[in-house]
């Protein structure tokens, strides 16, 4: 019984960990630096496909037999490097553009990648690739575990991996933003021209941020591909990227803790809605002649998502956290000033 629940919630926990890691790297690009990228799902996809091809396609083509744990481990740095390389290729020409133009150029990259995958024989076209379960095989064959134990340990391993990755990215970003480089990055977001007049090399920092963000997204992609054990082009469609942009905006541009909170909220809305019993129907539409049209809340997550976004923009346009972070000092201050309205506004 416990393990059944664990299987269900554990998987959500794992996926939300991957989402958090992806949202954090996008927050560096869109939030901290103010580069409006709509192509983050593309870098995520590059990482996922790199990892998948390394364990699914390469051993087969080379006649190596089943992929071992070495290839599995190698797939992470390789996914990161490949995605970072794509970040560099896209970044160098595109980062000379500002605002809307950059958004369109990065959107173009994401779509080109997806359409390329649909048409590429090696990448499995629209059927995608299925990825062998290297971790399970390692637990069963090398460590000689029981079937159930291996299954549970596999999930625990991936939960630790996805949240470990999120933690790693979180710490790296926090340290980056607290350094002199972080100051320069914030200055670019606030006012590019003023930053350049103070000696900040715009192109260097923008490319650096973009490559770093893309590489991190590639890592998230590798975890995703290995856990789900399949990759298809539709997982990396534009709408996926848009959801992550919404998460970053909702969390507060540049706030890493805000991003984590927003990711968890956005991820769990459809999950919680899926629990609504079938007897619950809500009126959504009035059709003349037929009266009210009822739907189950399960089908309404996109409506709720949009309402949430509209509400956010009206009530708290700076995002959940603004550009601040949740810190221990901040929480103490909140607790002390809780009865009154005090504190910094």
């Amino acid at each position: 019984m416990f393990w059944d629940h664990f299987q269900f919630w554990g998987e959500h926990l794992l996926l939300v960990g991957i989402w958090v890691s992806l949202a954090l790297s996008l927050n560096l690009i869109n939030g901290s630096t103010g580069l409006f990228s709509l192509g983050h799902q593309g870098f995520f996809g590059v990482g996922a496909y790199t990892a998948a091809m390394l364990v699914a396609v390469l051993p087969e083509k080379m006649g190596w037999g089943a992929p071992g744990i070495g290839l599995f481990l190698l797939s992470f740095p390789l996914a990161m490097l490949t995605a970072a390389l794509f970040g560099l290729l896209v970044g160098v020409p595109c980062l000379r553009m500002r605002g809307d133009y950059l958004a369109i150029a990065t959107l173009g990259f994401g779509e080109i990648f997806r359409i390329f995958a649909i048409n590429s024989e090696t990448m499995g076209q629209s059927r995608g690739l299925s990825v062998p379960n290297v971790v399970r095989a390692f637990f069963l064959d090398t460590l000689k575990m029981e079937r159930d134990d291996a299954r549970h340990l596999e999930l625990i391993f991936y939960i630790a991996l996805s949240w470990g990755l999120s933690l790693l990215i979180f710490v790296c970003m926090r340290n980056l933003m607290r350094s002199a480089h972080g100051r320069a990055i914030m200055a670019i977001r606030e006012d590019e021209t003023a930053a350049e007049l103070l000696g900040v090399n715009l192109t260097r920092y923008k490319v650096l941020v973009f490559v770093l963000g893309a590489g991190m997204a590639g890592l998230s992609g590798a975890v995703y591909a290995h856990y789900l054990r399949y990759v298809v082009p539709e997982q990396f469609a534009l709408m996926q990227g848009v959801i992550f942009v919404v998460i970053v905006v909702m969390g507060g541009m540049g706030s890493f803790s805000g991003t984590v909170i927003a990711t968890i909220i956005i991820y769990f809305i459809p999950v919680l809605l899926s629990f609504s019993p079938d007897s619950v129907r809500v009126p959504v539409f009035f059709e003349p002649g037929r009266g009210l049209v009822y739907r189950s809340p399960k089908e309404l997550w996109q409506v709720i998502f949009s309402l949430l976004l509209i509400g956010m923009i009206l009530l708290r346009p700076q995002g959940i956290m603004g550009s601040r972070e949740v810190t221990f000092g901040w929480m103490r201050k909140r607790a002390e000033s809780a009865p009154g309205k005090g504190g910094v506004t």
Binding site: A187, T193, A194, L198
Partner: protein, 239 residues
């Protein structure tokens, strides 16, 4: 006045698309001088500073700074050479604190102690910045923001400071304050190239002046001569 100028623009031609904004503009600034560039709206004053600072590229002409030709270099490199521009409209970072703004001014420096000393020095010069050190810069008044912008530009320890319309949009009392600050900086030996619409006060503090009209330098000379010149008086000093 025998020393070679530290900053010199020679025959600058600058275009915005097909429209020529500067026509053969030449000027020079010697070490320790306060030189002002005056003229009406749209005469090309800001364009001249932007071109010198590397934001705009001249179609022809040269900019010499400290013995090297710098036209066409990127702004961030020009700042590293020691030529700072305090841009029009202040352009402070509103969501960073006053001290973070100052720290960013010293972005190109790596002497932590020297930076600390300079922050203390500009805090002493502009007490209001010390008072508001941890406040977001966007919450400062216009005049305070201008003080911050000037202090921020000085944080890189430039050899020459260029100021673009520091009195723009300020109440008369604050304008007086800004000019008092410029006078003080000059007293400390800071070399300044000042662009102003407020010609009267600019000529009062300056050593020399240039008058710019529709992209051309039409007059230049010691500031006192210019403020005595009937044509200049009529056009820029209200008779």
């Amino acid at each position: 006045m025998s020393a070679a100028p530290i900053l010199a623009a020679e025959q600058l031609d600058v275009f915005y698309g097909g429209i020529q904004a500067l026509r053969g503009v030449s000027l020079d600034v010697r070490e320790g001088e306060l030189v002002t560039l005056i003229g009406a709206n749209g005469a090309g004053k800001s364009t001249t500073l932007k071109t010198i600072a590397g934001i705009l590229a001249p179609k022809s002409g040269k900019v010499r700074f400290n013995g090297a030709e710098i036209q066409g270099r990127s702004s961030h490199l020009i700042l590293r050479d020691g030529l700072a521009l305090c841009p029009e409209g202040r352009r402070i970072f509103p969501n960073l604190t006053v001290d973070e703004n100052l720290d960013l001014g010293a972005y190109v420096r790596h002497d932590a102690q020297g930076v600390k000393d300079d922050v203390a020095r500009w805090h002493a010069t502009f007490p209001i910045l010390k008072e508001r050190a941890r406040q977001l810069a966007g919450t400062l008044s216009g005049g305070e923001q201008q003080m911050l912008a000037i202090a921020r530009a000085l944080m890189s320890r430039p050899k020459v400071l260029m100021l673009d319309e520091p009195s723009l949009g300020l109440a008369p009392k604050l304008v007086d304050q800004i000019f008092a600050v410029l006078k003080e900086l000059k007293g400390r030996g800071v070399t300044i190239l000042l662009v102003e619409q407020n010609a009267r006060q600019a000529l009062e503090v300056a050593d020399r002046g240039y008058v710019l009209e529709t992209g051309r330098i039409v007059k230049h000379g010691p500031a006192s001569d210019l403020s005595g010149d009937p044509a200049v008086r009529k056009a820029y000093l209200g008779g």
